[in-house]
C-alpha cells in the first residue's frame, strides 16, 4: 500500500481494520519453519492460542476422528519456534526452510 500526500487520511486514521495481514512477515524466518504432524496432533489448540503472529490456523478439514485440522501460515510465521517448544505431544517440528512441504 503506497499513498501520496493527497490520499493520506487526516490524522493518520486507518479505515481498514486488520490491514497488517497483507504485510508479509514470513520472510523474517531465518533457518527453520514449523511443520505439523497431523497424525500425532491431538487438537489441543495450544499452538493456535500461543502463536504471537496468529500463524497457525484452524481449518475445518476433517482428519480421521477429528473435525478440525491445524495449518501453518508461512506467509506470517516468523519462525520463533514457540509452537514446537510448547506442543505437549511433540507434533510440531522445526524443519529446514528449504524442505518442501505439502
Amino acid at each position: 500500500m503506497k499513498l501520496g500526500w493527497r490520499e493520506m487520511p487526516i490524522a493518520g486514521v486507518m479505515f481498514q481494520p486488520g490491514s497488517s495481514a497483507e504485510y508479509k512477515t514470513g520472510d523474517w524466518r531465518i533457518e527453520k519453519k514449523p511443520l505439523i504432524d497431523q497424525e500425532r496432533c491431538i487438537r489441543c489448540m495450544i499452538c493456535w492460542l500461543i502463536c504471537p503472529d496468529v500463524a497457525i490456523e484452524r481449518v475445518q478439514k476433517p482428519y480421521k476422528n477429528y473435525q478440525e485440522s491445524l495449518k501453518e501460515d508461512y506467509y506470517h510465521c516468523k519462525g520463533c519456534g514457540i509452537c514446537a517448544a510448547e506442543c505437549p505431544v511433540d507434533a510440531i517440528e522445526m524443519v529446514e526452510e528449504s524442505r518442501v512441504v505439502p
Binding site: G12, M14, P17, A21, T25, P52, D53, V54, K78, A85
Partner: protein
Amino acid sequence: MVAPKDLPLQELYAPGHRLCAGCGPSISVRMALKAARGPTVVVNSTGCVEVSTTIFPYTAWRIPWVHALFENTPAVASGLEYAYEALEKRGARKGKVDIIALGGDGGTFDIGIQALSGMLERGHDIVYICYDNEAYMNTGIQRSGATPRGAATTTSPAGKVIPGKRGGKKDLAAICAGHGIKYTATASIGFFTDYIDKVRKAIEVDGPAVVHVLAPCPLGWRSSPADTIKLAKMAVQTGIFPIYEVVDGKYRMSLKPGKLLPVEEYFKLQGRFSHLLRPEFKEELEEINREIEGNYRRILGLAGEQVA
C-alpha cells in the same frame, strides 16, 4: 477454566504486525482479546505493542483502537468512558462498550502511574492490562520500575560497580488493590487459561480492574524466542512472579503452593542474568534468593495459605 479449543475463533488481533519473533507482549494482547465479551475499545499507551502494531498505513487491530501517550492512557480511557455515557444519555447509541487500557511496564509502573491512580480512584469501568516485559524494551532495554533485582539492562549494566539493577520490583498489584478496587490480578502468559479467565473476570467486574501480566521479551531478556512461554511459566514456578487475584481486598493464590524451582534454572536461560551465575556475584544471588522467598511467603500469608 476455559480450554484453548473452546475459545472464540474470531481474531481481533491480526497477523503481520512487526513485533519480534517470539514476542511475549504480542501473545498477551492476543489472549486478552480472546476474553472480549462484546464491543471493545482499546486504548494503548506508547510502547512496543503500540509502535509495532500500527506502522502506517497498516494496523493490526480489528477493533477501535486509540493511541495515547505514555503518561495519559488511563486518563484517555476515562474520557472515553464518559463519552460513551454521554452518547447514551443523548440517545445517540445503545449498549455497553468495554474499554481496555493497555500499557507496558514503563507506561504503567513509572510514567503512567499517576493517571492510573486517578482512574482507579474515580472508579471508571475500565480494565487496565499491564503487559510487563520488565524494562523499556521499545527504546533499547533501559531499566524500569518493573525490572527485577540483578537484571542487566543498558542503564544498569552488570560489572565491577553494580551487580545489575539495584533494588527490586514495585508491587503493582498491591498499589492497585490499595485503591480499594474490586478486582486486581497478576497473571503470566505461561498459564494462559488462567490469564484469559482473569481478563474475562476483570471485564465483567463493574468498576476498575487491573491485570498485571508477565510477558517475556526475547530481545531484552536475551533468551531464545522459543523459550518465551517456558520462561513465563518458570517465573511463576520459581516464585519470582507469584500469580494471584485480589477480589474485594481478599488475596487468593491461582496456583496451589508447592515446592519452588531453584531460581538458577530460570536465570540460566536468560542473558540478562548470566552474570549472577558467576562466582563473584554469589552474594548477590543469595540476596535475590532470600528476597524471592520472603516475597512469596508474604503473599502466601496474605492469601492465608500454608507455606509448603
